[in-house]
Symmetry: C2
Subunit: 148 residues, 2 copies
């Protein structure tokens, strides 16, 4: 069985089933269809969506990529690479490497926030300063006498 057969769309699963199988909200699934991330599935006579195995795999891919913080645009690119089996690895690595840089930047930013806040909260807990250290920190160092 080819796990990457994204073209297999033989209609089987209604949307609620797909939702349960992937852990993805029904609304989100419809949203992914609307923005073209998930191809429109077959419909029952009454108009209900019926998904195939390809949809299941594709949505699983999207969910996993989201868990790793990829944006929907990045995921779109990765899906294209997954379909084009010729030269995906180098390009996929590029997408991932760029994303990794983003993540590391975010971690660094959050760690900077964390250290300032942790320090401030400790000083608040001390109760050794007359003013609230947190509020003092936030009032910061704008000099109101400087001319703009």
């Amino acid at each position: 069985m080819d796990r990457k057969n994204l073209q297999d769309t033989a209609p089987r699963l209604p949307i609620g089933m797909l939702s349960r199988r992937t852990g993805c909200n029904i609304e989100t699934i419809r949203y992914y269809e609307k923005i073209g991330l998930l191809p429109a599935p077959a419909r029952s006579d009454g108009g209900h969506r019926l998904y195939g195995h390809g949809h299941l795999m594709r949505l699983g891919f999207v969910r996993r990529a989201r868990e790793l913080g990829f944006t929907l645009d990045e995921i779109r690119a990765l899906l294209r690479l997954a379909e084009d089996r010729d030269r995906p690895c180098a390009e996929a690595r590029e997408v991932a490497a760029a994303h990794l840089t983003d993540i590391r930047t975010k971690i660094a930013d959050l760690q900077a926030m964390e250290s300032v806040l942790a320090d401030t909260v400790v000083r608040c807990a001390d109760g050794k300063t007359p003013e609230c250290p947190l509020l003092e920190t936030l009032f910061g160092s704008i000099d109101p006498s400087a001319s703009g």
Copy 2:
């Protein structure tokens, strides 16, 4: 001079000046006014906003708090505490402590993403696997033969 005199709104600065002094976009300043985070300033005869020292301090406060990742709602709460000088420290500490927890959760989440991705990118770079390790990771372990 009391740095916390947020009530001083004697009209002096036009919005562009306030923007330059605080590093906050003009659009953002107007947005903060619209959502009630920054009080509406005086106006010139022609209708241009004229800000006072209190606005400068308040907006500085907001910007610093944003840099520490506080949400606008949290900042609203902190500003209320800053105005009410009686029992702010314990409550401000609570707001900050809750936010600190959020930040630490986010850091942990990002570090989890980082380690998976860093590992995968390295394996991509190896070129030792026939398939692309990144795409393999994203195709994950959904078992299509399991019944939903």
